[in-house]
């Protein structure tokens, strides 16, 4: 008999979720297309004045990425809840927080990383100054995993409900506010020629904290949702 370890269980879950994403690889483009369209709306609404657009560029991109992530959040546990896999995860002898952390990691890789990669294109569309772009990408790289982790806790709470989309947004958006403030703060400071490292460090610290605590909260929330 071979019982397997927590590491092999996480690996099996990572492998399966990546395989599932690969089978539905068209879906991975949706958040990027959404952010692209949202960003396109701003020049249409505000006029194509480069200076004006450059001033709001970083903020618009951050909000677009945040909302794209919010829309993708619902798929995190939905499928597993509906087909009973989530019950098997909860019943598995391995630590649930670790298994959920693996799921969140794959979800971040599939939904958020394409958005971070698309950031230079979005930035170019809004005339973001070239020297601010690295700061924007750094802020996104730190903020998106944080958003995924915070969002996962709220998804875990609402997974048992039907049509939980609006409720999920109401739960998640207040939690996203501090992340948005620090990420936008770093970009603003960089654009004004001021030191921008401190807000990025705050994001990094929050990410470290969320990496440890969010999977635990997520597991507790999921046990409540399932019963």
């Amino acid at each position: 008999m071979r019982y397997g370890t927590a590491a092999s269980a996480c690996f099996a879950l990572l492998r399966r979720d990546l395989l599932l994403s690969w089978r539905r690889r068209g879906d991975a483009l949706n958040p990027v297309l959404f952010a692209l369209i949202v960003v396109t709306l701003f020049p249409l609404a505000l006029g194509p004045e480069p200076n004006q657009l450059a001033r709001i560029a970083a903020g618009v991109i951050l909000v677009a990425v945040l909302i794209a992530g919010l829309l993708a959040l619902d798929t995190l546990f939905r499928g597993d809840y509906e087909d009973g896999t989530l019950e098997q995860l909860v019943l598995s002898p391995h630590p649930l927080p670790l298994l959920l952390a693996s799921k969140i990691l794959v979800h971040w890789l599939i939904t958020a990383v394409p958005l971070v990669l698309a950031a230079p294109l979005l930035a170019a569309m809004l005339y973001l100054p070239a020297d601010v772009l690295p700061v924007l990408i750094a802020a996104l790289a730190l903020a998106t995993p944080l958003l995924s982790l915070l969002g996962a806790v709220c998804v875990a709470l609402t997974v048992g409900m039907r049509r939980s989309g609006m409720l999920l947004a109401l739960l998640v958006l207040p939690l996203y506010v501090p992340v948005l403030i620090f990420a936008a703060g770093a970009c603003d400071a960089a654009q004004a020629g001021l030191p921008f490292v401190a807000p990025l460090l705050w994001l990094g610290a929050a990410l470290a904290l969320a990496l440890v605590l969010a999977p635990l909260a997520c597991a507790a929330a999921l046990r409540i949702s399932i019963t």
Binding site: Y3, G4, A12, R23, D83, G84, E87, L89, T227
Partner: protein
Amino acid sequence: MAHSPDHDPIPLLEARGLVFARNDEVVFGPIDFRLMAGEVVLVEGDNGAGKTTLLKVLSGLLVAEAGEIRLNGDALTLARLSHQVALLGHLAGLKGDLTAEENLRFAIGLGGLRAGITPVLALGSVGLEGYEDVPVRQLSAGQRKRVALARLLLVPAALWLLDEPYANLDRGGIELVNRLLDEHARRGGAALVTSHGAYAFTSGTPRRLPLRRAA
């Protein structure tokens, strides 16, 4: 090791005074039963009698209102960390986009693997040879049930909790479930099977655990 004075073997699963209540309304109980290794017990009851709920309580998914559950003599909280319980619920936990074999490999990764069996062998013994590479989405409801049964053969759990395993199965499938249960009992495993009474076992008479909706 402590021996009981009358040298009773320790039951694989034991429930004492088990009561489950939802919103202060008692769903079932109090019930007492013992399930020894090598035994198959049929949980009988009408729709809404709490059969599914009982299995969920016994697997640790739901928390009982009162009473205790012992697995091999230990309180159930340890069961979550052991590899002893396999639950087959109404939902099979299969991914339509993955093939039968990929689904089973994931189940092994999560639950471990019994000695001397592989996913291909397990699919063969539930009558699905040649379906290894077919996406589960393309299988019929009965075939999906068979894939879920193959999962039970692979994971090294001694206690099977089967919720309506006969649903969606044809005559051959019903015989298959009975054969798998027989083999599992002979290996020293035990099973608790719910049924609303529509099917009879073909071999032997299993012990029955009647469940009635609490008044």
